[in-house]
Amino acid sequence: MAQAIVIDKHPLDDIMRAERMPHIFCPGCGIGIAMRCYAQAVLESGIPERQHIVVSGIGCSGRVAGYMNLDSYHTTHGRGIPFATGIKLANPELMVTVFSGDGDLAAIGGNHLIHAARRNMDLKIICVNNFNYGMTGGQFGPTTPTGAYATTAPYGNREQPFNLPYLLAAAGANYVSRWTTMHVRQITQDILYTFTKPGFTFIEILAACPVGFGKSNRIPDGLEEMKLYRERSVLARDVPLDQLGIDLREERPIYVGNFVNRDVPAYAPVSIDP
């Protein structure tokens, strides 16, 4: 007779705040995948958990800090990076990750993003890009593709979106890559790598937002968007950075992979012998 397998402990129980489940993410949302990859990377990092600090801004991805069983800070909209800057400089021993969304990091927090990259501040940025403001119900944002629809772009988005890898490369980030939530192994490995990489690192993770972005753009559920990622993701090799923009209308590839891997020394405050 088959016996029930009782599992009373999940491998990530120590890394995530089980008592906070269920999370707020909608069915089909990709943030949970990205969050799980981060948790897995923390688990495998070999760095004591007490040294891992996670900081978020506002938005759906901003809620991730609240689910990690680490010292975690859910700050104000766009200000995760400068808050994390203060933590890191006050205690350089800490591994400080900023986990937030595209709207938080690239719109309202855009200035902090580029300046932290310019300084090569030793922060690990995980940016979930779901092409819209999901928390407020699907408005267009700094990464919404031109022509895509949103609740505040009922006639199609008139703006040009940020090509985030291009932006971050220009701003001076030490490490820039992009994956989709189809690429769970690559994401986990990439986060693990950034833990060993001093300086400002930026991983963009394209994620489905069926309730916010999808509903306006004929991507009715998360699975559809995952299929789109599977069909159109291309590992970029020698693709010029300015060609990495995303245009979901066209049958264009979605370039993924690592685009920047520099060894510029991380920011270090002035240190003098008194």
Binding site: G66, Y73, G86, I87, N111
Partner: protein, 390 residues
């Protein structure tokens, strides 16, 4: 250049901005996150030179939004942290002043006021951010603000600001002004072991204790409504959010939790006001006329009161050293015996409104919108008029 010592014990001849920076260093401030702005820039300049001498960090941020966010982060990681700014930057800081209040992270925000609103008079004095210091961020909250009247006092009050911030887990504002910031006077810095130090309330047990029950970053002790603070990296697995939260720090979207939390944030300052409030009284015992002033304007008010006393007028001076919380009990007591109240301030009536609220009668105001110090003469004229001598 300055010996690399955190506390420059001795007699100095320095301006208020420099004295503020030295007060911060003496208090143990080891992180400054700021953005240059007149007339506070000398604070940043001095700390850029001095902080590395004592193992601290000077961080020049991209704007004031980031400046205050960074000092909150540094505070969360255990540092005594400060920023310094003036009106336009202070406005930008209102966002995360609220975060500091909500997360209950100690920090010091120095505002060397200039002529406002907007860009106003960058190089000239103002006192018009008194109400912004109290109410500038959205929501109900308690806040602390001190208004120095001399370079010596900005040194002393910057130390007090750090101590109050740590004891009560609250952002504290040093509400200076351009006159005090740029005025050069004697500043006496005491020996390092005579610098008062109030510590943060810290967890009662090591992190291992909180295995079955989480450490509560927001469970306040009944005595003073202040919860203990665990720092980033100590292993308590804390969570901090600007959302309404429970005692652990987890978001809780309920009216009851919200009311309880916000009420405590207000009462934390209100109930501890006697420990926080600082005032100076001059000739108040028998005063029929009370002049109330603060910051640079209090210097003129003192001259006017001394001159009026010399002429036999029963006038006294109440100098507000702390602006917030407001010394309402003291003013209500004065209103029992004194007849006339005069408020002198370099704005068009912000503290006068508070005094009127306390004394429940019209208060004479000596006001100027900013840019020029109020001279003793108009204050003296108002005193003489109140005494029936005009």
């Amino acid at each position: 250049m300055m010996g690399g010592k955190a506390v420059l014990t001795g007699q100095h001849f320095m301006n208020g901005d420099d004295a503020c920076a030295e007060g911060a260093l003496a208090a143990g401030c080891r992180y400054f996150g700021g953005y240059p702005i007149t007339p506070s820039t000398e604070i940043a300049e001095r700390l850029a030179r001095r902080l590395p001498e004592v193992g601290g960090v000077y961080m020049q941020m991209e704007d004031e939004l980031g400046s205050i966010a960074s000092i909150l982060g540094a505070s969360a990681a255990g540092a005594r942290a400060m920023t310094a700014t003036s009106g336009p930057g202070f406005s930008l800081m209102m966002e995360n002043l609220g975060l500091g209040v909500m997360l209950e992270l100690p920090c010091v925000i120095v505002n060397i006021q200039r002529g406002s609103p907007s860009t106003g008079l960058p190089t000239m004095a103002g006192q018009s951010e008194v109400m912004q210091a109290r109410w500038g961020s959205h929501g109900d909250y308690g806040i602390v603000a001190y208004a120095p009247s001399s370079p010596q006092e900005i040194f002393d009050l910057t130390i007090l600001a750090f101590n109050v911030a740590d004891r009560y887990r609250v952002p504290v504002i040093v509400l200076g002004d351009e006159v005090i910031g740029h005025m050069v006077e004697r500043v006496t810095i005491p020996p390092a072991d005579q610098i008062p130090r109030w510590e943060r309330k810290r967890p009662a047990h090591p992190p291992e204790f909180y295995v079955h029950e989480r450490f509560k970053s927001f469970r306040a002790d009944e005595d003073n409504l202040v919860p203990p603070l665990a720092h980033a990296g100590e292993g308590y697995r804390v969570h901090f959010t600007g959302l309404t939260h429970d005692e652990i720090g987890y978001p809780e979207m309920s009216a009851e939790t919200h009311h309880e939390l916000v009420t405590r944030l207000v009462n934390k300052i209100r109930h501890n006001a006697p420990d926080i409030i600082r005032t100076e009284s001059l000739y108040l015992d028998d005063a029929q006329i009370v002049v109330i002033s603060y910051g640079c304007t209090a210097r003129s008010a003192r001259r006017a009161v001394l001159d009026a006393r010399a002429a036999g007028i029963p006038v006294g001076l109440l100098r507000l050293i702390s602006i917030w919380p407001f010394p309402e009990t003291l003013i209500q007591e004065l209103a029992q015996t004194a007849e006339t109240f005069i408020v002198a301030e370099m704005n068009l009536g912000q503290i006068r409104l508070e005094v009127e609220r306390c004394v429940r009668r019209p208060v004479r105001g000596i006001h100027h919108a900013g840019g020029a110090m109020i001279h003793p003469e108009p204050i003296l004229d108002a005193i003489r008029e109140a005494a029936g001598l005009r």
